[in-house]
Structures are given as C-alpha cells and as structure tokens.
Amino acid sequence: MADPMKIRANMMGDKVVVKVLMAHEMETGQRKDSAGKTIPAWFIQNVTATHNGKTVLSAQWGPAVSKNPFLEFRFSGGKAGEKVIVTWTDNKGDKRTDEATIA
C-alpha cells in the first residue's frame, strides 16, 4: 500500500496555502531494468483536494510529473482548524486519501 502523503495547510492572510508531498514512483514506462526489460508506466493520474465537501483543486497528471510529487495551491474561504482532504489515484487503480488541519 502506498505511504501516506505529507500535507501542510496554512493560513496566509485570508488564503489557505496547501503544500502536498506524495510518495509515488511516477514511473514513465520508458525506463529499463537491469535485465533490459521495460519497466511499465506507473503514475498518479488524478488528484483531488476538497475543503468542507467542496473541490478546491482537481488535477490530471501524466508520467512526466516528477517522482514523489510536490503540489502547491491556494484557495480562499478556509479557516484554521478546518480540514483539507487530498486524494490521488494512479493508473493501476491504487488510491490514497490523507487530510491535514489548516493551521
């Protein structure tokens, strides 16, 4: 199973700044292993972030997003103590959801 994400959500003025680190190989499907066999593509395809049930960001990624991806975005309407929930799904159907409390 995938490792947890590291999510930070901090108030900056009236905006919530969200920074997310995800543990994922983001394999391009172009690399070869030691035996010369192509390592199949394996990467996060969809990312969704919600706050109070509302989507605050949704993304589609290809294999060209770097390994162990980093993502930063900002939204308004959040308050300290509320939660931001982030979910990713990869091309193998693996999924991971984590949350952070806005500080």
């Binding site: 391009t28 509302k54 989507t55 991806p69 980093f70």
Partner: protein, 156 residues
C-alpha cells in the same frame, strides 16, 4: 512507449470516457466520481494538439500568464515549475514540455475560490520550451519559457 500506452488504455477504461471528459473542459469541476483521465490529451506531442484534445480550436499567447522556474535545471528529473494566471475567469492551467515524448505533463482545474496558481515539479528529458496553457472564460491562452537542462558530473 507504445507498450505503456496500451497499458494506460487498459487501465483507464477506454477512450469514450476520455472524449466525454474532454468535451466538458479538462474535466467537470467538482466531479468527485471522476476517475477520468484525458488520455488523448496526454498523448499529444505539441501545444496545438493538446489544445485540440481539450476541445479548443487554438490558443493565443498571453502576457497575463507567468511561468516561474529557474532558467537552468541542474537535474531534468525534477524541474520546479509554477504558473500564475492573471486572466479573468481562469478555469484551468496545464503545463507542457515541448520536447518530452508527450508534451502534456499536468493539467489542473481551478474552481472558483481557488487562486489561478499552481506549483509542481516535472521531468524534462532535455533543454526545452515549457508552455503554460490556461483556459479562461472558455478560451485558451499560453505563455512559453525555455528551461535548460544540464549534464551531471558523475560517471554518466
């Protein structure tokens, strides 16, 4: 690459869903059941084709889009790229690397209340133009910046 595309196709549930997704913008914002992934867009080789795959007809260059990144990346495996749009009604932001095998790296839908800004890191196989493609008020705009990728010193 061909092999992996077949894998992707199998994994992502076929082209029809993708086509539907494409016709509704990048994908319907706030659509939580969306496991859609716009395969046709991620297969494109250049900016114009990506715009088409998103359902647009063309894109105009805009000074209201800023790409923030170093001019030179010490390692192409991780190139930090931020995009800020000052265009009114920004709906989505996409990052493209012209010389990568497939141009589109990432696409973000920006719902109302979210700043027209994203920051992430992408892979670059070589020195290339990087495009930020923005959909605002139903139209497509882009900005371009060249990022150089350097060689490492280790025995490679």
């Amino acid at each position: 690459m061909k092999q992996s595309r077949r894998d992707l196709l199998a994994a992502s549930g076929g082209v029809t869903v993708m086509a539907l997704a494409a016709s509704a913008g990048l994908f319907k914002s706030g659509d939580l059941h969306a496991q859609e992934w716009n395969k046709s867009a991620f297969d494109t080789k250049n900016l114009q084709d990506t715009v088409k795959a998103f359902g647009g007809s063309g894109a105009a260059e805009s000074k209201d889009i800023a790409i923030t990144s170093p001019d030179i990346a010490e390692n192409g495996a991780v190139v930090p790229v931020s995009v800020t749009s000052k265009l009114g009604k920004t709906e989505s932001i996409a990052i493209l690397v012209e010389k990568n095998p497939n141009a589109l790296s990432a696409a973000f839908d920006i719902p109302g209340g979210t700043e027209p800004f994203v920051s992430t890191r992408v892979k670059m196989g070589q020195t290339s133009n990087v495009h930020a493609l923005v959909k605002a008020d139903g139209k497509y705009f882009y900005a371009t910046k060249e990022i150089k990728v350097t060689l490492g010193g280790c025995g490679g």
